[in-house]
Amino acid sequence: MKTLFSFFFILLFSAVELTAEKTEERVQMFAALSMTKAQESSSVPTDAGVFLYNNEGQWTRFGPKIINIASATADSRNPDTIYLACGNGISRSRDGGKTWRMTTGWEVSDVKTIAIDPTDQNNVYAATAWGVWLTRDGGESWVEATTGLPKKYSRTILLDPSDPNRLLVGTEGGIYVSHDKAQTWKHVPTSPETTVFRIKQSKANPNLWIAGTHKNGVLLSTDNGKTWASTAPTLRKANIYGVAADSSNATHLAASGWGVGVSISIDSGKTWIDRSEGLPSPHVLALVFDQNHPGRLWASTFEEGTFYTDDLGLTWYEGGIYGAYVWDLGFLPQKP
C-alpha cells in the first residue's frame, strides 16, 4: 500500500512539475565548448566559450570569450543570475549576461559544473578538478567542501530538488552524497570507485537518476540516487560522458560515450538500443533532451558537429558547431 501510494505521489509530482515547466519556464539551450578541430601546432583552441542556440537555428556567443568554459548554470528563480564554470574560476553575471565578475580567487580553478540551491540562491556548489567548493553568499566568497572526499577530482554535481540539503557529486572515486549541504560527504556504497563524468536526474521521474562513468559504463538509480546499479550491458566497459533523461517522458533515457555513439532506452533504463547510425563519429561527449522541443535529443560528437533527433535516434539532423569539443549541453532559464 505504501509503495502504491508512493507511486501515485510520484506521478502526481511529475505531472505537476511538467505542467509548471511547460507553462512557466522559458529556457534556451547552451553549449559550453572549445573549438579544437582546427587546433594545430598549438595547445590553445581556436575559439571557446558558451554559445546559445536561437530560434533561427544558430549558435551565438554568450558571455565572455574565455578558454575552457565547461558549463553554465542559471538561477531558475532569477534567470539574470548566471554562473560559468571556467578554467579561470567561477564567473557570475547578475544582469543576464551584460556584465561578468570572476567571483573566485586563484584557489578555485578548473571548474566543471555548478549547482544552485533552488530554495536559496545564496547556496551554490561547484565541482572542480580540485574538489567541491561552495558559497553561502551567492558567490561573494567560496570555501572548499571536500570533507569525506578521499579523491577530490569532481566532475559533476547535482542538488536534489526535493531536499536542498542533499547533493550528489561524481568524483574520481565514484558517487558521493552529502546530506548537510556539502559540509560532509559519504561514498554511495553501490557506486563503483571510478571517475563519474556525468549525473542527471529525470525531471519526469525524480526517482530516476542516470550516471556515466569511466570504464564502468552507465549507472542507474531508481530510488532517487540512494543506490546505483549497472545497466546497458553492451556499454558496461565504456567511458560514458553523456547521459540524459527526457523531461517530457519518464521512460526515455540516453547515454553516449567514446567509441560507442548514442544508446537509447525507452523503458527507464531496463533495455538499451544503439542509435548511432547517421552520426559522423562514434565519439559522443555531450547529450541533452530538448526542453523546448519535447522528445528531441541533442548529441555532440567530438569535433564532428552537434546533431539532433526527433525520433530517438532513428534519424539525425545537423545542429551545427562543427569542430567543437562540447563539454556540456544544457538549458538556461530565460526571463518570462
Binding site: S42, S91, G105, S109, D110, T146, K152, N239
Partner: protein, 640 residues
C-alpha cells in the same frame, strides 16, 4: 662552519677516489678558474646589457609595422626611439590580442617602459585591451606566474580603478590582492617543497620573465624584494647544474629540437647574459632583464663558471600538481597532490651527468636522465635514454581533458607525445639510479604498454662509436668517454621523424628537426624486461680511449632480467651499485636514503627541507636567501 666542512670533505673524497684509479692524470689536468673581481663581473654584465638594448633598437624594422615583437616595442619606448613604429606595432600586434598569459608579460613591460612616452590615445588603447581581452590563466605554474604577474603590474598602474576597467570584473585592488596572494603562495611552496616545473632548459626562462618584471617594477618594497630573492633562487638552481650555459641533468620539460641540440634551449642565451657564457642569441627575456635593472649577485657568476672541482649536486623537487591518478606515493600541499622528485647530478668541468628516479614525474616532456658535454653551439652534445610512453592515465594525471581526448589534444601541440620515436617523456616502467659517473637504468614494461621498447640516443657528434664483443658500446663525446652496456639486444635506427611531421602538427617543437637529427641514431631494444649501465669518464683522466675501454671491461657487472630486472655493478670509482626494479638502490650495501634528501645539497648551495632558507657559497663568499625574514645576507668569511 659545518657547510664549509661538507664542501671540503666531498671534494677531498672525490679527488681521493679519482687519484686511486688514475693517479697520473686526474689532478694535474684539472681546469683552472681565475675568479674575476666583482667590478669586472658587473662591468662586463653592463656591457652585455647595453648590447642587448642596442640590438633591440638597431634591428627594429622601423618602416614595417608588421614586423617585430612587443618586447622590441618596449625596448624602443624605453630608449625613445622609433616611437611611431612602436605605436603602430602595438596596435597591429594586437589585432586581435592572442597568447593569454604570454601576452600579459610584454604588455606590462610596454606599460612600464612607456610610462613617459605613450600618449593618451595609446593609453586608451591599452586600457581597452585589458578590459576586452580575457586571458586564460592556463594549466601550469609558469602560466599562472605569468598571468598573475601581468595582472598585478597592470592593476598596480591604476590602483584606484574599479571592476569595470578589467576583463575579469574585479577592481585593481582585488586583482592586486589575488595576484600577490598567488605569487607569494607559489614562492612559499617552491622554497618549501621544490619547484614543480623544475630545471627546465626551456621553461626556466618562462619563470624568469615574470620574476624579472616583479623585481623591476613592483612598488611595494617588501614584495619586490621577495621577487628578487626567488629570482636569485631560480638562477642559482640553473647555475649550479650548468656548464657553459647548458642546463645539465634531469629536466621536467624539454622539447625535441632542444633535447638533441641543447644550445637551442631558451636558457642558453640567459647563460650568456647573466654569466658571460656561450654566444649571444636573441631572447626576449634579455630585454626584460635589462629594462628591469636586475643585476644577479656576483656569487652566481662564480657558481656558474667555476668547474675546477667536480661535485655532486642533490636536489629535491616535486611534480606538477596531480589532479587525478595521484598514486600512493603522493602527498598533499595546500589541497593539491604531488610526488617528490629526487635529482642527482655529477658536475664535472667537461660534462654533467644527471638523473632523477624515473616514473611519471612530469607530463609529456620529462627527461629522466641526460649527459651533456662541453661542445660548441649547435652541436648535438648530449646522450640520454628513455622508455617512450604515452597514456590517458598520464594525461589525466596532469590535464583536465577527458581520458579519451587528452592524448590527442596533447599531441596537437606536442607532436611527438604519442610516438614511439619520441625523445623525451617519463615512463611508469623506468627506474634510474646514479652514483657519480655511473648510472643504472632498469625497465619492466608490461605486455600492453603503448610502446614496448626503450631507446637510447647516440648523437652524430659522438666519435669512435664501437660495439665491443664484451657487450659494451663505447663512444667519445667531445672530452668525455662514454661506456654503455645494454642488458638486451637492440638495433640501430635513424632518428627520423619524417612520418611524424607529415601528420601536420609540429611548429617550433620540431621545425628543422630533420637537419638537426640527421646522422644521429637511436639504439632501440624491444625486450620488455630491460636495462643498461652508463659509465662516463672525462678523457683527461685516461691515457687513451683504449685504456678507458680496458678499465670499463674489467669492472664487475652482474645483471638479470627475469622475473624483474636487477643489476650489480662496480663503477670506475670502486663503488658497488646494486638495484632491483621497484626496490631502493644501494651503494656499497647501504640503501640510498631518499627521505633525507635536501632541497639543495652541494658545495655551492644548501637548503634544508622546510627551512625556507637557501645558502649559497663560493670560496669565502656567502649569499643567504632567508624567506622567513625576507632578507638577503651577504658575508665574506675572513681568511685564516
Amino acid at each position: 662552519m659545518p657547510f664549509f666542512s661538507v664542501f671540503r670533505h666531498r671534494v677531498s673524497a672525490t679527488l681521493f677516489t679519482t687519484c686511486l684509479v688514475f693517479p697520473l692524470t686526474s689532478v694535474a689536468q684539472q681546469p683552472s678558474y681565475l675568479p674575476p673581481d666583482s667590478g669586472e663581473i658587473l662591468s662586463q654584465y653592463r656591457e652585455r646589457c647595453d648590447y642587448v638594448l642596442s640590438q633591440a633598437v638597431t634591428t627594429t624594422s622601423s618602416f614595417d609595422e608588421t614586423q617585430g615583437d612587443l618586447f622590441g616595442v618596449a625596448a624602443n619606448l624605453d630608449r625613445k626611439t622609433n616611437l611611431e613604429w612602436a605605436r603602430k606595432r602595438l596596435r597591429t600586434f594586437n589585432e586581435p590580442p592572442t597568447g593569454n598569459m604570454f601576452w600579459m608579460i610584454p604588455m606590462v613591460l610596454i606599460m612600464q617602459t612607456g610610462r613617459d612616452t605613450l600618449n593618451d590615445d595609446d593609453w586608451a588603447y591599452i586600457r581597452k585591451l585589458w578590459k576586452t581581452y580575457y586571458p586564460y590563466r592556463g594549466d601550469t605554474e609558469n602560466h599562472w606566474l605569468m598571468y598573475y604577474t601581468g595582472q598585478y603590474l597592470a592593476a598596480e598602474m591604476f590602483p584606484d580603478d574599479g571592476p569595470e576597467h578589467w576583463f575579469n570584473g574585479k577592481s585593481s585592488a582585488e586583482n592586486m590582492d589575488e595576484a600577490r596572494s598567488y605569487i607569494e603562495d607559489w614562492i612559499d611552496i617552491t622554497i618549501s617543497h621544490g619547484q614543480g616545473e623544475f630545471d627546465s632548459p626551456n621553461y626556466a626562462d618562462v619563470y624568469i620573465r615574470p620574476l624579472l618584471l616583479l623585481t623591476g617594477w613592483v612598488k611595494d618594497p617588501s614584495f619586490r624584494h621577495k621577487a628578487r630573492m626567488i629570482l636569485d633562487y631560480i638562477l642559482l638552481d640553473y647555475a649550479v647544474e650548468s656548464l657553459d650555459g647548458f642546463y645539465g641533468g634531469a629536466h621536467s620539460r624539454v622539447y625535441p629540437r632542444h633535447v638533441i641540440v641543447p644550445s637551442l634551449n631558451a636558457i642558453n642565451p640567459l647563460g650568456w647574459l647573466f654569466f658571460g657564457q656561450g654566444e649571444y642569441r636573441y631572447n626576449a627575456t634579455h630585454i626584460i632583464a635589462v629594462l628591469s635593472g636586475y643585476t644577479p649577485p656576483t656569487i652566481l657568476f662564480h657558481i656558474a663558471n667555476d668547474r675546477t672541482k667536480p661535485y655532486i649536486q642533490r636536489e629535491l623537487k616535486r611534480t606538477r600538481w596531480r589532479l587525478r591518478n595521484a598514486g600512493p606515493n603522493s602527498f598533499e600541499v595546500k589541497g593539491k597532490r604531488t610526488v617528490p622528485v629526487y635529482k642527482y647530478s655529477y658536475v664535472d668541468s667537461d660534462f654533467i651527468l644527471g638523473s632523477c628516479q624515473g616514473g611519471l614525474l612530469q607530463p609529456i616532456q620529462q627527461q629522466t636522465w641526460s649527459l651533456i658535454w662541453r661542445g660548441p653551439t649547435g652541436s648535438s652534445n648530449t646522450f640520454f635514454g628513455l622508455q617512450p610512453h604515452s597514456s590517458p592515465f598520464e594525461g589525466s594525471m596532469y590535464f583536465g581533458e577527458d581520458p579519451d581526448t587528452v592524448t590527442d589534444l596533447i599531441a596537437r601541440s606536442k607532436v611527438d607525445y604519442d610516438s614511439e620515436d619520441k625523445l623525451q617523456g617519463g615512463s611508469p616502467y623506468e627506474q634510474v639510479f646514479q652514483h657519480e659517473t655511473a648510472l643504472i637504468a632498469l625497465y619492466d614494461i608490461p605486455k600492453d604498454a603503448r610502446f614496448p621498447l626503450i631507446h637510447t640516443f647516440f648523437s652524430r657528434d659522438l666519435k669512435q662509436r664501437e660495439e665491443d664483443s664484451s657487450g659494451w658500446i663505447f663512444a667519445q663525446g667531445g672530452p668525455v668517454y662514454i661506456a654503455y652496456r645494454p642488458f638486451a639486444p637492440g638495433e640501430w635506427k635513424p632518428v627520423d621523424w619524417t612520418g611524424l611531421l607529415k601528420s601536420g602538427a609540429g611548429g617550433f617543437v620540431s621545425t628543422g628537426f630533420a637537419a638537426l637529427s640527421e646522422g644521429s641514431q637511436s639504439y632501440a631494444s624491444y625486450e620488455r624486461q630491460n636495462g643498461y649501465i652508463v659509465q662516463i669518464a672525462p678523457s683527461r683522466e685516461h691515457d687513451s680511449f683504449e685504456s678507458f675501454k680496458t678499465a670499463v671491461k674489467a669492472l664487475p657487472l652482474e645483471f638479470s632480467l627475469s622475473p624483474t630486472p636487477s643489476a650489480t655493478f662496480t663503477s670506475l670509482d670502486g663503488s658497488e651499485l646494486q638495484v632491483s626494479y621497484g626496490k631502493p638502490p644501494s651503494i656499497n650495501g647501504n640503501d640510498v636514503e631518499y627521505s633525507s634528501w635536501k632541497l639543495f645539497d652541494g658545495p655551492f648551495s644548501q637548503s634544508e627541507r622546510g627551512s625556507k632558507r637557501l645558502e649559497m657559497q663560493y670560496d669565502r663568499e656567502r649569499y643567504i636567501l632567508d624567506f622567513n625574514t625576507v632578507t638577503i645576507e651577504e658575508t665574506i668569511i675572513p681568511s685564516r
